[in-house]
Symmetry: none
Subunit: 230 residues, 2 copies
């Protein structure tokens, strides 16, 4: 997981430099480009393992650049954008980005996503099918298929329910407070979200538990929070 090179493409030098600091701090090598043309040039000159690409750039915009890059090589691309509209998000992903981060972004989140993408890259320069399944008790979470099964039976979860359950399953055994769950799932500080989370917990229990009143998987720890029994 070391010695990877990341190409940062953004027209704003400050942003490039800011990102570079974080990435270097993680032991990654960084090359900068200020637009799509420069990015393609950099791809010829260096062995790049991942691209951080701003969607709004002069000369050649990010989406067009994605096309050009994909024509050359199959490299993980993470898109950056100031726009938070879902339309852009979906468009970016469909066209070829492997992940998407909106500005202003949390640097830690960015690093996590970069690492996640790099992890899929192995010695042979191919993509490894990451084992994306988490198994706890009789519960199976397939992160790629975004599906959970209980004893083989698929469960139909809503997006938020899936996120909550994923969080709890990935860190099975650990207790998460309601605030913590809210922050991780909704990605904003929680103010008055107790019932909201509680209702979702109830819904999840309804779907994964035989007897929701006496849950087998999704346990409550009094005064602290919820967890998935390991």
């Amino acid at each position: 997981m070391t010695n990877h090179t990341v190409l940062v493409v953004d027209d704003d030098k400050e942003i490039r430099d800011g990102i570079e600091i974080y990435l270097k701090n993680e032991g990654l090598q960084v090359i900068q480009a200020k637009d799509g043309i420069g990015a393609i040039a950099a791809l010829d000159e260096h062995e790049i393992h991942l691209i951080l690409l701003d969607i709004m750039m002069p000369q050649m915009d990010g989406i067009t650049a994605t096309f050009k890059i994909r024509e050359q090589r199959n490299i993980p691309i993470i898109m950056l954008s100031a726009k938070s509209e879902d339309t852009d998000k979906i468009l970016g992903l469909q066209i070829g980005a492997d992940d998407y981060v909106t500005k202003p972004f949390n640097p830690l989140e960015l690093i996590a996503r970069v690492k996640s993408q790099l992890r899929r890259y192995v010695t042979f320069g191919q993509f490894e099918e990451e084992s994306d399944t988490v198994r706890v008790n009789g519960l199976v979470l397939d992160q790629e298929a975004k599906q959970v099964t209980v004893d083989g039976e698929p469960v139909r979860l809503t997006p938020i329910e899936l996120k909550i359950l994923s969080l709890l399953m990935i860190h099975a055994g650990r207790v998460f407070s309601i605030d913590e769950i809210y922050e991780k799932v909704w990605k904003e500080p929680s103010f008055n979200a107790e019932n909201t989370v509680a209702v979702h917990i109830r819904k999840i229990r309804e779907k994964i538990e035989i007897n929701p009143k006496n849950p087998r998987y999704l346990k409550v720890v009094w005064g602290i929070g919820y967890k998935i029994e390991k």
Copy 2:
């Protein structure tokens, strides 16, 4: 999630002191610095887990300080600023702050954000202190799962019971007076709490002892207090 140290950087002593009161009230340790230079010095001297940084400071401004700090270590940074313009907000985040609070700020919101950042960092595995399990005799305390087992059997404890038992187990062998227990668990000076603690002790014994009348783990030291037998 306890025992974290926050560095408060602001040129106004009143603001620093005000923030310090709130943070200390949450059990956090606080170190102050009046400018960027002082902040970097403090980083060398103390183990800091989070920085509250005013964006407008003499000598070295907050944004420059952010860069310098990031060069050294990857610590969560929350920016404070009197400016509420969105341009500044985005700039601050892009450059390296993990979160942003505008003055005048709501203390509760500030605390919520501080805690949120500390939690986020902890999950990323950066500074997870204290080993998660404490073993004494046949007693096992899993601090992550917030659970205690006696000879492998899980025990269902209430929040206060868990806190008391955790305290005694972590410092197994040491005797705690009733007042000491009360202060540590309730986080307020003990007034007339002798019986209150005694009742909880009794409840704990009921749950972890085979014969509460002749306790094997939770011993009383006459005239002094309670302890967990090592």
